[in-house]
Amino acid sequence: MEVLPKVESVKEVTAASTLMLKSNPNRPERAQEVDLSQYPTSYKENSPQEKLLLAIADNFCCQYMHLYPDRKPLLLCPLNECGVQKCVSTTLRPTLLSYPELYSWEGCASFVSEFLSLELLDPPIDPPRHLYSPTWLMQTQRGSCFDFSTLLCSLLLGAGYNAYCVSGYAVKEMCLLNQSLQECPLLGKATEQKRQVKKYSVKPPRDLRSGFEQRQEERRQSDAQAILLKKQQEAERLQEERERLPPDPLLGLRVHCWVLILSGNREVPENFFIDPLTGKSLSTTNKCFLGIESIWNHQNYWVNMQDCRFGCAEMNFDLGDAVKWEYLLYGTTGQSLLLIPDMKKQQEAEDDEEEEVDDPKVFEMPPSWVNQINISQQDMETRCPGGMKVIQYRKAKLEKFAPYLLPDGLVTRLTTYSDLDCDTVKEWYQHRHDHLEERELKKTSNVNIEHFRPGRSYALKSHRYITMAPETERQMDFYSHARADGLARRVEMPFEMTETFEDRPDFIYHRHVVFGKRVKVFGPSNTEVVERFNRDRSKPAGEDVAERIFLVSEDRIQVTYHREDDRIIPAWRNFIKPRDSGDSQNPHSFTPQMASTFQVDPFEKPSKNLFLYEMLVHMMKEEERVALKVKESEKEVRAILGVREQEESSIELHISIYNTARNERARCHREALERTAKEERLRQEEKELDFLAPFLAQLGDPENLTRQAALQLRNDCLADLKQRLIDKANLIQARFERETQELQQKQQWYQKNQLTMTKEDEDEYLAYCSDAMFRIHILKLRLSRHKDKAPQKYMALDERLRRDPRLKATQGCFGHGFDVQL
């Protein structure tokens, strides 16, 4: 039995990993940072418990090989990243993380499938020689299907699922993560609704057409349909043939590893598989799974004894049945798993020694050698290696990006194809400042559809357009409840505009405007406006306007009322507008011929002229108001288009104030705080600089100072400072004098040669003079300041020396008048 790692194997691992790095240039560089020496000893050595386990496993394998020479060797104790043999069960490390989305199996599976990228098995018909720990996986983000399953199973066990890793065989597409034959899950299908049949539903009206003719027609149609159907079938068959893959020569031999969840825990109603590569759940009878060799969790290991010639459809997962499942360790059955593995493990650890003494026969799986899995916030957010992942589906390509990765906030892009051409591109965005959520581009018709989250200006919900130019075909939907005018939709065509409203107090729900030819100055003038209203139940039907049509170009107004509940013909009034546009002095001339009325009830009294006149006046006022509204709508469209264009040209992403990693201001604030703290610390250190140290050193660092020595020390110290101050003053003075002298010389030189000088020389001289004067002035200032400060500095030192505990001996000795003598 080999317990200690061989030197060769370590080399092999590192060689393999470097090879891996070279082979994939896209790889993030984080793998290089993996430092195996940092790993704890449990990764590099085996504990006595584990050694015992390895012995048992080796024995088990030997027996198995002997009994079933036809079957493939089991994957029981592969090498880990440090080249140490470790049992697969101890590689599982049940961990419950603090992210709520990792509490459900869906969340875990999708995380694992997105977080890791696949390394194919080589050769595909053998299980791998290495099984890496989840720690390694978290750092490299690469692994084989076995590594995927190990990580996923660890998370699922931590979340309380009854989960197992399954080693077995699957079809090629699954092993190679080839989803190009599957429909994209994002392309959902609409559901149909059933209609309910009532007891007294009326029979449809009797059909009076000839039965013979109908039959003839039917026959003709069915013939045509049959031909069509045949063609369709033919086409489908061809399509299928084209898409069908060549038969796989390795069918049934390709090794795969996936996860099994047994029912019982966490309200799982029935057993199912999870493919860790796609993160999807599959039924245990799925045809993709061709056979199972063995399964394991963190407590035991079982070998399948059932026949897998016909796939896994009839597999029984009762792990307590020793005939169907051969266990590695006696005593821990599949059913006795606890919900909280961590606690159990602790107990086990405590009980271990006693048990060994009491009952050496029952050997329990030693605790995992792997450290707790740790997923950083950033990994959780970035997910895919490098923050992006591309998946090919059948006639569709799905690209995923981490939030904030792309400057325009794109998180998902779905491109669908019809045969060869790109058909539609659908893009999903996050954190956009302009609230854009989704954009769909139909390549064939060149139509763009944009969807927005609530909260935009003008409550825009979606925008369908071909070009952004105004007065072209477009459709805008709005969040009507957020708008004062309740506008839900505005559809524009060249020369037409239709608006739809919701929940309006004046009951209008539809306004359709037809524009006439464009007049140069005034813009397009509307020739026809149609407004429709919902029924207002507080009014009688005959007074509740259903539709009013302003035929502006014909000077006519048509008003139609609602139908009464049991009538089919509504009442209406048609008006012809008076030719002379009336003003207050000269009101409209009104004749009864201007209005024509249809009354539903012939016995009703015809309405009075006064009423008709007032209505006409009202309608004319309304016409003006509506024209204004239409103008406003056009203005709004232009405003929205302007805003959109500006937003698209400078895309901003919204960063939550709680997002401390990205919020620029918050980060600046934090950094500023850190900086000031650091400065403060430095200052503190400086303050504590010991100025007595050199003098004490001269005396040989004595423990205690005599009064004499202390006095001496103090005097020395003060004298030293005095000397330094004087030196400094002298230095400044010397410089000052030199500058003055030079200036004087220069001035003399200038006076001598003033007449013979060129213009440039003169300029140079003047420049020099001003410079020199400036320097002299500065020196003068410095000198005077030094003179002021020097006594203060001296006094400060004196004060500090007096307070210094080491110079206590000098107490009571005052009076050192001091003045800097220059």
Binding site: S201, P205, I569, F590, Y613
Partner: protein, 521 residues
Amino acid sequence: MSRLYDTAEPSLVDEELLQKAVEEQGPQDQAGQIAKEEGIQYDEVCQLRLDYKNILKIDHLWQFTSLTKLQLDNNIIEKIEGLGRLTNLKWLDLSFNNIEGIEGLDSLVKLEDLSLYNNRISVIENMDTLLNLHVLSIGNNFLAQLENVIYLRKFKNLRTLNLAGNPICKEDRYKIFVAAYLPELVYLDFRLLDEQTREQAFGKYQYAIEEMRHNEAQERRAMDARQEQEDELKLHRDAFVELLNGPYLFDSMYADDAEAAKLAYLPGVSVLLETYKNHLVALCVQVFEIGLAQRGRREDEVKSFFDCSREAVDDNQQRAAQIAADFEKARRQVMSEMQQATDTRLLEAQMNHCSEEINQLCDSLMTQELQLVDQLEDIIKDFERNISDMVAGFIEVVQGIFAQCRDLENHHHEKLLEIAVATLERVAKNELEEDMPDDVRMLFVDKDTVINAVSGSHDTHLLKIDNREDELMTRCNSWMSALMKSVQDEEVKRNRKRISEIHNYIDYVRDQLDEMQHEHH
């Protein structure tokens, strides 16, 4: 102020005055001219102002039935009268008059704003029906009793009240009292009632108000309970099994039966009666439960029928309306084209085409209607059959149970007879130990009397049972026939209305076409 005009001659509300007021206050300018040409009907006037007219007596206003606002302020009116027909009135101003009592407002239930400012009123009364009142102005009157305010509690919508200038305002507790008793009030005497006053008022009159509120709540609860009871009884009545969920039938059988009461004194009869009662009540309850269940089924059936027929009618109506609307649109187009057309021959052709279209429309609308009539006839027949089956089934079951009741009665009668005969024998032999009341003893003078008494009682009981059964059956059957009659009547009415509607429209369209023809000739 009315007093200023005391010297002037009091005037009356007469035709001239009204005409003038209506014309002055009616529409102006162009509209006024049109109105004048047409003549103004008094029943169309919505507002009328008759102030400063020195009116003594309100009269001649009965024609103004659609009036919503009437101003009669600054007159010398002494009595509110002649307003009974102005039921649409919302706004009534009677301020600055000499009114002494509130009266004659009972029919003005829509009144929202009433002003009685500056009159001689001393009691708030006779306003029980004005439940929509929002604003009441009754300042400058002779109100002396603060308790008048309590009368205003019944106006749940009252928000503004003016009492200023009454004797009651001089009382210290005036404001607090009003605030306490009218908690919904917002403005009092032109001022907002602030929160502080309200709190103070609540603190002071807490107990009185609590008590009042408690009483009111109790009254409401009692009313609700009564209502609930009535509803339940109505439900039972609709199921035709009212008063069968208890010993009511049994009690009624014995209520008018003097003989039975006497016979009850016989030994052993009380036990017999007890078991008889239990059995009968059990049967009654059975009928009751079946009745309720059947009623539920009938209700569902009726509902389902009406739903479907309404759906069919709506659907048909929708289609017909669409046809009519399409036609109307096309017609307008054609009419406007024809108006501009000049070529006579072309016009002629268009006219012909048009009238053909009209005929076609008439046909298609009529076809729709006929189809609907057919369809509805079918389902009405189905419905009638189902409902009558249901009723027949129900009656059959009930009859069976009532037969059991009769058997029970017969059985009881036999037993009773046996006891009676035995008792008679013992009386004859003078063996009777118990003493009997004299009137009971009187029965046992001879055999005939006893047997007559017993069978008399028996007959009464049987009659009661039969009556109850008959009542149930007749009511059930009459309900069914009334329902079917109403269904059929409704259908006929609907059909006639539709046909007349189609004709009306077709006539109108034809008239228009003819008119156009005349114009062109």
